[in-house]
Amino acid sequence: MGRERQAIKRSGSINRLEATRHLVNRAPQALIIAGPGNAKFDLADTGDRPQHFYLWNSLGLAPSVGLGLALAQPKQQVIVLDGDGGTLMNPGALVTIARLAPLNLLHIVWDNGQYQLTGGQPTATATVTDLPAMGRGAGLQLVATVTTMNEFEIGLETWLTESGPWLVVAKIDASPAPARPPKDPVWIKLRFMQAVNKSN
């Protein structure tokens, strides 16, 4: 009984940095909200740009920020990059995104089944929890799971062109993310807001 019976599942083969690079290349105009942890580190590694908004803390709030931005800027493509830890911290964000259903929101969860930055402690997705099922249960109609880079590349063409809101769970490996984005919150914000203005 109990946790000893819960086998650790394999995570996928997608490399987060490679996938993030591909995403930025395919959607150069998109406004990107990156959650705390490696999502924002790898986004910075693709080349720091004004249309990146990095959350330095606030685990769980990246999709909420993305939702507010998507509602405020319905003509702009908004992409959220977050991890499994952030998604599990605030699963209510899936509910609220499903309820408001902004067409311009693509929410990508890099899922490696671990709190990678703090030493690789397993998250619930490593054993029992099914994030795509949670998304569907929350009411999201467009939910995709990808486990290879090829699937990610093919899927991305759909997620970027067909109206959302999309929830994509990308099963990634456990590669570290050594890059660091700028750290001044007010500067990140003002630069991002200028980028939003320019894109209108």
């Binding site: 909200i33 908004f53 959350l55 330095w56 803390n57 606030s58 769980g60 709030l61 990246a62 999709p63 909420s64 920020v65 993305g66 939702l67 507010g68 931005l69 998507a70 509602l71 405020a72 800027q73 702009q76 605030n90 209510g92 964000a93 509910v95 609220t96 309820r99 408001l100 919150p185 007010v186 990140i188 914000k189 991002f192 807001m193 939003v196 203005n197």
Partner: protein
């Protein structure tokens, strides 16, 4: 006019168009009013901290807003306020309905109700309490204006 009518008008006059809320019986009439007016984008939350994130995103996109909740929700929002709204200097109005004061019947409301204002003080978030009908309009206007200079202000009906 009720306090609800006045606050509704001031929210609209000041273009606080995105309203994020977890319902409470005190603010319920105000929520009903904003939901009935297409000027407002109303976002029902599962948990109040979501609203901090959503209003942050809305502000990044050029929209102003208000977070409405019972005082319990302030407890649920603390890290969002401390780690996102405050360091990134994201302005919005927080409308908080009081529980846990004189005459409270529910023991589980007391501690948060008493802690709320000291908590706001420790975060550096100003708070103004609506006590008299003839002050509601001026206090609401003032709280909104101050929120956009000080970045965050809470108002207590």
């Amino acid at each position: 006019m009720t306090w609800t009518d006045i606050v509704f008008e001031r929210l609209k006059a000041n273009a606080l168009e995105m309203v994020c809320h977890v319902p409470d019986s005190v603010i319920a009439p105000l929520i009903t009013r904003v939901e009935a007016d297409p000027f407002f984008t109303v976002v029902p939350l599962t948990r109040e901290e979501e609203g901090v994130g959503i209003l942050t995103g809305a502000y990044l996109g050029g929209r102003q807003g208000c977070l409405m909740m019972q005082v319990s929700g302030l407890g649920n929002s603390v890290n969002g306020l401390a780690s996102l709204a405050i360091p990134y200097q994201i302005p919005f109005l927080i409308l908080i309905s009081q529980r846990g004061e004189l005459g409270e019947f529910n023991p589980a409301q007391i501690a948060m109700g008493k802690a709320a204002r000291p908590l706001l003080d420790s975060l550096g978030i100003q708070h103004f309490t609506l006590r008299r009908m003839d002050e509601v309009a001026a206090l609401t206007d003032g709280a909104i204006k101050t929120a956009y200079t000080a970045r965050l202000v809470s108002l207590w009906p």
